[in-house]
Amino acid sequence: MSVRAESVRSGWERATGPRAVGILGIALGALSFWLALPPVHARNTVLPVAVGILGAAAGIWAVSRRERRVGWGAIAAALVGIVGAILATRSSLTHLDIVVFWGALVTATLRWATPLTFAAIGGMFSERSGVVNIGLEGMMLVGAFFGALGADKTGSWEGGLLIAMAAGGALALIHAFFAIHLRADQIVGGTAINFLALGITGYLYVDVYGQQGTPTNLPAIPDVHFNWLQHVPPHQLGSFLDNSFGQMNLMVWLMFPLLIVSYIVMFKTPIGLRIRAVGEHPRAADTVGISVYAVRYSAVVVSGVLAALGGAYLSIGFVHSFSEGMTNGRGFIALAALIFGGWRPFGAFGAALLFGFSSALALRLPDAYGSSAGTLFQALPYVLTLIAVAGVIGRSIPPAAIGRPYKKQ
């Protein structure tokens, strides 16, 4: 009733507002670094990492409430804080090692973000047209297997990529048929696609390769070398750039044109306008003569092709072999990246970088802390995804007709 009560409440609201939480996140990020420094000097990374994750979570929460700058700042501060803390706890490192470490981290982040980005962009086409694609995971897996198989059988990585794309497209076509023509539940259908992909790739893998696994001389997607980068002055910058970007896979570089092209297609061409129209209001699109089915079929197939490329990169561009179920939920993380990025290419890329970084970090940490704790850190990308999804869903506005089958009159 009183003015006082009012001001108390608004003060409380301000304290829990996105901006305040974002700033808290930045503080937590800094704290995570500080914990590892004298005088606290935590010798164990668990505390700084935990504090850092809290900071990142606060940042994500703030981003989801439209406090983008402060929020992203908090995420960045938290990640830098975590890395800094790790470096500090290994304080015997020389100066150069730190540069190498950072360079390697940048490379690894991009490497892990690449398959996520391909799949997320694929998902964007499908979901912008109104078809939920939970099956991204399966389409990636199929791409990974057929990429390896194709590369092996044709003896060239280009052949592998083509066959992977065809396989991903074919699997997507099944999803499209059930989602569009049969008007089945798209989430159940996508789950089925994931099971099918697991079964088909597992079956064929055992059938073709048996106990030996994929051959060790599998043709690989080549790396792109930029040797001149190390000569960039000053020396430290040069070696940082070289370590970061000097040797990366072709697919990592292809990711950038893909981002630009998919952005242009989606937002600057008639095709994109029609895809979005179909995803927002299929009946409206239908009444002006757009074929809703044709648009949705093509969009879903494109999503399968792109997800498969992401999967093929994993098998023949990254680890150079195939193993059963090797995508390990990356399709779902890609989906989360897509949602977190607001169904936009560069937003999804930003989220993919975040998740890629956590994967890279999860794989770096065991070096420092033994494999037992390393196993625990494997959960990091999934925890981060969970936080991101919890923070952002319901705030990020999906295409209006997503998940709803369209029935012609």
């Binding site: 306008l273 409206a284 239908d286 009444t287």
Partner: protein, 508 residues
């Protein structure tokens, strides 16, 4: 301009499972005329026009355009033949701009690849000036009003070169003033040589705008007459097949204590914007208060707040003197507020539930339906049997699924549930939407009965006729504010002015 009809339908027949929606209908449209298609809900008007627009395929009959037989298998083909349609529910994409909506599917491009948005805007501006349809090409559709949305729809058709324009119930969403503007636009289009089919069930406006009128009843054509010599009563008889009774029999109200009181209530909408602003009113026992307003002026948010479904951002709600401002929906129900929601299939019923389960939606957790969380299905069924008889629900028993019932009977189930709880306050939101004449009469009679039992009724409706026929007092809501209170005998024009924010808040 040739003399023959620009569009001719010969013996068009369309069947749906269980009904013949169009039975051998003949229809012709002359160049430059406004031809009204008149009929009740379900008479087959929209079906016929959806056939002309290529959305349905007829089971029999012929369509001729400028004397040549054509097949219209899709909207695209209809558009190619110069047919444009403005649907009753607008086919616009809210998150896109006006220009994007208009050029969709035939977009101006740079070299056939990239969208030429500037050219789109320019073409839309040009068209809007030529036909006198003022719109802002760069505004997002979600930010413009209903009247403008309709203009965008008309422009969409014109952009595609429509010579024949079908307007499906175009005034349903408009205020009387906006409707008058629309008529100006239609006359302008007619002057530029366009032929227009005007679908409506409102006699008055048909007589006002049409050159000729074709009346449909239950899927059959009754007759085509010209405006000269058409009278409202004559048309009404043709439309319904008997004399229509537009009046509701009721005794004068005997209002008692205030049952529902609202003070300075403010409510936000889903986007966090103010939808209801500082609203105060009271509904007393034994009266029906009608809330009139154009759709989207805060009615939904107001009802949600009253029913405990949405937290108000300020103000106070009292039921029988008890503060329920922050009460849950369940508590509001328990305090004696019945609520007939505006969309019975989405909000009023669980279609997959049996009628017995639907009738128990409010009190399944009370004795005798259940005890300590244990449900007694037999008791639900026996009570349902009684209620279904009492409320004359036909087409199923207690264990029939709600989805199997007709719309009218579904609404009876909702009313039975809400009234059976013996509420002190009944909120009825658009209780007759989409019902046929018989069901409407039933609902109206029930609402008056509830009033006569000494309960407070708040009626929210977009139909001015309904509001005026049932209410003892009328409140008008505009942009979230109550802008006036009127006697039910008030002229429709005065209500219309208030509904568009015109006139002063000076009220009785």
């Amino acid at each position: 301009m040739s003399d023959g009809p620009i569009l001719e339908l010969r013996s068009i027949t369309k069947r749906f499972p269980g009904v013949v929606a169009n039975d051998a209908i003949d229809f012709e449209l002359l160049p430059g005329e406004v031809h009204a298609l008149l009929g009740e809900n379900g008479a087959g008007k929209s079906t016929l026009m959806n056939i002309v627009y290529g959305l349905y395929r007829p089971d029999g009959g012929e369509i001729l355009i400028r004397g040549k037989p054509v097949t219209l298998g899709s909207a695209r083909e209809a558009i190619m033949h110069g047919i444009g349609m403005v649907h009753q529910h607008f086919m616009l994409i809210p998150v896109m701009t006006v220009a994007e909506n208009i050029v969709l599917a035939s977009e101006p491009t740079h070299a056939g690849v990239l969208l030429d948005y500037a050219a789109s805007v320019e073409r839309v501006r040009e068209l809007s000036e030529r036909f006198g349809l003022a719109v802002d090409p760069e505004a997002r559709v979600e930010n413009i009003g209903v009247g403008q949305e309709q203009r965008v729809e008309i422009l969409k058709a014109l952009y595609r070169g429509a010579e024949i324009l079908i307007l499906d119930e175009p005034t349903a969403v408009l205020t009387p003033q906006e409707a008058a503007e629309l008529f100006e636009i239609i006359r302008g289009l007619q002057a530029q040589g366009k032929s227009i089919i005007f679908i409506s069930h409102k006699l008055k406006e048909v007589v006002e705008i049409a050159d000729r009128i074709t009346v449909l009843r239950r899927g059959r054509k009754v007759d085509t007459i010209s405006r000269e010599g058409a009278t409202e009563t004559g048309l009404a008889r043709m439309m319904v097949g008997r004399e229509v009774l537009l009046r509701v029999e009721k005794k004068p109200a005997a209002p008692g204590q205030p049952m529902l009181e609202v003070h300075d209530l403010s409510v936000l909408d889903d986007r966090g914007l103010g939808a209801v602003r500082d609203v105060s009113f009271a509904v007393r026992a034994g009266e029906i208060v009608g809330l009139a307003g154009v759709d989207g002026n805060g009615q939904t948010e107001l009802i949600d707040a009253l029913a405990g479904l949405r937290r108000p951002s300020g103000g106070e709600i009292r039921v029988r003197g008890q503060d329920v401002t922050r009460a849950s929906a369940r508590r509001v129900l328990d305090l004696g507020v019945g609520h007939i929601p505006e969309d019975r299939q989405r909000r009023g019923l669980v279609l997959e539930f049996s009628l017995a389960e639907n009738l128990a939606l409010h009190d399944y957790d009370e004795e005798p339906n259940s005890r300590f969380g244990w449900l007694f299905p037999r008791r639900l069924i026996s009570r349902a049997r009684k209620l279904l008889r009492e409320f004359d629900v036909r087409g199923g028993g207690p264990q029939t699924r709600a989805s199997a019932l007709s719309g009218g009977n579904q609404q009876k189930v909702v009313i039975a549930r809400e009234v059976a709880g013996d509420p002190d306050v009944l909120i009825a939101a658009q209780p007759t939407r989409g019902l046929d004449v018989g069901a409407i009469e039933y609902v109206h009679r029930r609402l008056v009965e509830v009033r006569d039992e000494g309960k407070a009724v708040l009626l929210v409706s977009l139909e001015l006729d309904e509001i005026r026929a049932l209410s003892d007092r009328i409140l008008v809501i505009y942009e979230g504010r109550i802008v006036g209170e009127y006697d039910p005998k008030v002229a429709e024009e005065d209500l219309g002015i208030a509904m568009t924010g015109g006139g002063s808040a000076a009220a009785a």
